[in-house]
Symmetry: C2
Subunit: 340 residues, 2 copies
């Protein structure tokens, strides 16, 4: 009986240890439930299997498993306008009383009339001007608070969801899946770096130090003895097109092995990622689902995808059809939680 008691006790101990240990589950759980079992999913899963298989020629050590993701149109919706533009429009309205000249000065005048299309007519130059006028002049900490306060109340014009509810459920699953397989996930976006950092950790599981984006200059100074970083109305870096590999090198310092984008603004990032030695994967999210999201590519002035579609085949890049490859687009409404 003594032995039996000890034996039973030790079974309990084994159970406790197993609960604490990362013991393999006997019930297989699909890590990508929102992905249909098509060629896109199969390519991604096969790539992950290859680079994690120790002792094979395709094996990549965890430290080198760098995966980069564009944000607008790849991790969350960018239509009918970049979220950053919606933010800037609201900031223009909030700051307008201090800038009477904006009533007649473009692109501000159009924005204040609610005419986003006319404001956008000035192209990236106009957008840059709006960004500069609305993103500078605060400290970095004040700006982060402005972003968080705005996200708490702003809603997408079509769905009425908070913008952080306009993220793609299949991509959330993919980020988790890659991290569970030893990948380090980074955002490499043309959008403003400080507009993303206040929420990417909570929403995507990507911490601020793994966010690369466009930036304006900052200056260190003392205000009443307290050090602050002041955001200056001077461009620092545009993290788009050929700037993306430059931003990747500056922030990450090594070449990723996996890149996800959705527009020709991501072309060079995919090219840079997939041109190195060893296993590499480039993936393009194709917006072909007018019913559940938006359908746009070659002719769109937001997220234009033209050359990428032409060359994906010859370059071996995977094209994800949102319509066919994704079972769901957004997270269920019930999972949306407070934004700060």
């Amino acid at each position: 009986m003594t032995n039996r008691r000890v034996f039973l006790g030790s079974v309990a101990a084994v159970g406790a240890l197993l609960a604490g240990c990362a013991a393999p589950s006997t019930r297989p759980v699909d890590p990508l439930p929102s992905w249909n079992d098509g060629p896109a999913r199969q390519s991604i899963v096969a790539f992950v299997a290859k680079v994690t298989q120790e002792g094979t020629t395709g094996y990549v050590p965890p430290a080198e498993r760098i995966a980069v993701f564009d944000n607008d149109g790849t991790l969350w919706s960018e239509q009918p306008a970049y979220v950053q533009l919606a933010f800037a429009l609201d900031r223009v309205k909030a700051l307008a009383p201090q800038h009477p000249e904006w009533q007649t000065q473009e692109p501000f005048a159009s924005l204040l009339r609610g005419d986003v299309a006319s404001a956008l007519a000035g192209g990236e130059q106009a957008i840059a001007g709006i960004i500069m006028a609305t993103h500078a002049g605060t400290t970095t900490e004040e700006f982060a608070k402005i972003v968080k306060d705005w996200l708490a109340t702003a809603r997408h014009p079509m769905t009425g969801r908070p913008y952080t509810g306009m993220v793609y459920q299949p991509m959330l699953e993919l980020l988790d899946y890659l991290r569970a397989n030893g990948f380090k996930t980074f955002i490499v976006s043309g959008g403003g770096i400080e507009l993303m950092r206040p929420w990417t950790e909570r929403v995507y599981g990507i911490p601020p130090e793994q966010v690369v984006g466009s930036s304006i200059r900052t200056k260190y100074e003392l205000r009443e003895g307290e050090p602050v970083l002041v955001r200056l109305p001077e461009l620092d870096f545009i993290d788009d097109k050929a700037g993306k590999p430059v931003g990747i090198n500056q922030h990450i310092g090594r070449r990723p092995i996996l890149a996800f984008g959705n527009s020709d603004g991501d072309f060079e990032m995919l090219e840079w990622t997939t041109s190195g030695e060893g296993p590499r994967l480039g993936v393009i999210v194709h917006h072909d689902d007018a019913a559940r999201e938006y359908a746009y590519d070659r002719k769109s002035h937001i997220g234009r995808l033209d050359r990428g579609l032409d060359e994906a085949g010859t370059r071996g890049w995977v094209v994800v059809s949102m319509k066919n490859d994704w079972r769901a687009i957004y997270p269920p409404s019930t999972t949306l939680h407070a934004t700060h």
Copy 2:
């Protein structure tokens, strides 16, 4: 007997599980054997204990346990000259045949005569000129190879050690200790970012994406169809003095809670780090050990420490005496391994 056999079998199973689990060791191992038990070590250990104690007001979640370290003079020796200058001098010699004008042009002429002091007389401007002439014109991957090849053969002029053997053993232990306590460790150096990245992971356990430093611009282009990043002779960013908080914000995106430096070039980094809310620690490594390393502070033109010494007390910064607080300076020769 059956029960007994099963019991013995299950004891073996428990042992196997314990070996696989991170079971707490019963034998306490000193994580900082090269640190004497003085006030510096006590302050560091008390700080780590405070921020890792869940349920207390001082607790800091792991994601926010950001620790930043200067490199030159804080993690490795910077005397008799910055390692980067030794690298540049050797590069000047290697490139001299392609630059006959350097025979008469300062600071190159002095360097080619081996007269480092005269070359340095031009101050930071001269150093920047040397850096630009010797660090640009290659691709990023060519430059990384040049750095690794150089480190494999270059030796410190006083000790004959490879430069990666001139790192401080107590700091290696401290980096490991902090990481074991959930900290993410970053380098924030005035030195060139691409001169550090090829070896910091192997030597310090700090991956390239956690290295912040000074940089020159790069440009993405295709060479015979292959994408490369070309290093341009244009300054991008100086990560020194008031630039350090700017670099921290650009790369890390949140304020560290722990900063280590050794010179007034680290003053603003320590000020920025220790001015935030919650528990914070600033530490200065004081080079006061002429017998085992070097003794220099207020009058040195490399790693000058003047204001930092004056204000450490009132600001609550810890000053580490290399002479009194460190039991060893460098790793034992037997542990030095190949540099690539």
